[in-house]
Amino acid sequence: MAGVGSGYDLSTTTFSPEGRVYQVEYAVKAVEQSGTVIGVRCVDGVVLAVENLRSTKLLQPNSLRRVFAVDRHIGIAIAGIGPDGRQMVSRARSEAQNFRNVYAEEIPPSLLAERLASYAHVYSLYWHVRPFGCAILIGGWDETSGPCLYIVEPDGSGYKYRAYANGKGRTAVRTALNKLNFDQLTCADAVSEIALMIHQSRDIAKDKPYELEMAWISEVCDRQFARVPMSLISSARQRAELEHQQMEGDASPGADAAEAAGTNVMEES
């Protein structure tokens, strides 16, 4: 049997002799092909952002979203297969609701992350199910510790991050994230930083046009989940495109102009 897994990749119930579970690794591949997803925990809140790739111009602006509200104080951004992510969001909403019904308090984001990780993990244990083809970024406001960012991956592992990126542009963006000063970074700063990171991580020649989708849970919006105002996103994006042009201006002045013109599908609504 030819191929990568050589017979060991047919089910999550089979380990390869090297101790790998190929089906789960393939799920991770699905995440890595997705549009870039970024989460940043700032001093006054947490920002979730997605490079929402548009396969055709016929798509309605702001449709097929990848950032969702789970509860008033929690939001989720999806990297990977959209429907799989939405299933996680749906599960997250019922977990949050359930916690409230039992304890009359909002669910701590850490606990939600834990429960979603267990949920994802279960889907890597049985032959009759496939793992989730998505990684999710959980941004939330914890009553005791403030803004926080958690990640749940297809294998069912969960992490707490200061900043995280996944999807196509992850390598470049992660390098850029490392340079941020998280002790001073505010949400407003993060919005422009993220816009620039996403713009710079793109392959001008190959990548599809994108919409920049952003939401935050921050002091400015009463510690509640809210979409970043469209005007703010548009201006951040314009600045990013300009900055990018200037940085690469000497090298190839022609290509950037095309990028700026071709990808600006964002519309004020």
């Binding site: 969702f68 509200a69 789970v70 509860d71 008033r72 909403r93 609701q97 409230r100 019904n101 009359a104 989940f225 979409r227």
Partner: protein
């Protein structure tokens, strides 16, 4: 093998901890609700400073009487509905009228299951909305609301004093007078009350509990057994 004795399922047939009347009036510039802060345990004035108001969102207030635990449950269910709406992010928000209808369906469904929520609820909201729903799901949208024994004691007084152009302040004065009458006559009423105002534009104010005051017991001697017939 043990034998299973089949008995009919018995559900709550009478409320235990109860709130009394809720009053509401629709005015020219908004809506006012008022009720006392008592939750009685039978005839015992058990919990004297509990709120029977709830504000699930900006511009909507609900207040209820009847079984207090059911009322709490009803408030929780309402909150959940609003939270789901928040998560949908479709730009649509539940209007007070929609909530009124929702509560009607909820209470009707529960009574049809023979497991009613033992409450009568008043809904006030922006756009001068005032309505009430009883424990059977009967939904009424009116300019005057009185529940429980208030239907008998307060409603006639409210009808007499209500007129077009009544301001919220005047409306509140009417409700306070009615609550005084209720305090005299209703053995499950308290003189500590709370009021809620929702203006046309949705500005919402729920007061802290305060004492009714200005009570007049001098005429009490006139109320004798003879007079009561």
């Amino acid at each position: 093998m043990h034998s299973v004795k089949l008995v009919p399922c018995e559900l709550t047939t009478e409320p235990i901890v109860t709130g009394s009347s809720v009053l509401g009036v629709q005015c020219a510039d908004g809506v006012v609700l008022a009720c006392d802060t008592l939750a009685s345990y039978g005839s015992l004035a058990r919990f004297q400073r509990v709120t029977r108001f709830h504000q699930p969102a900006a511009g909507v207030v609900i207040a209820g009487g009847g079984e207090y635990s059911d009322l709490q449950q009803l408030f929780r269910i309402t909150d959940n509905v609003y939270r789901q709406e928040f998560c949908h992010e479709d730009g649509w928000e539940l209007t007070p009228r929609a909530l009124h209808q929702y509560l009607s369906r909820l209470l009707y469904a529960r009574r049809s299951r023979l497991d009613p929520l033992y409450n009568t609820v008043a809904v006030a909201g922006k756009g001068r909305f005032l309505g009430m729903v009883d424990m059977y799901g009967t939904a009424i949208e009116t300019n005057l609301v009185a529940t429980g024994i208030g239907t008998l004691l307060a409603l006639p007084l409210l009808r007499k004093r209500w007129h077009e152009g009544l301001t919220m302040d005047d409306g509140l004065a009417c409700l306070e007078d009615c609550l005084r009458v209720l305090y005299y006559r209703d053995c499950r009423a308290l003189r500590t009350i709370q009021v809620a105002k929702v203006s046309d534009s949705g500005e919402t104010f729920i007061s802290e509990p305060y004492d009714l005051g200005n009570l007049q017991w001098k005429v009490a001697h006139a109320v004798t057994e003879k007079l009561m017939i």
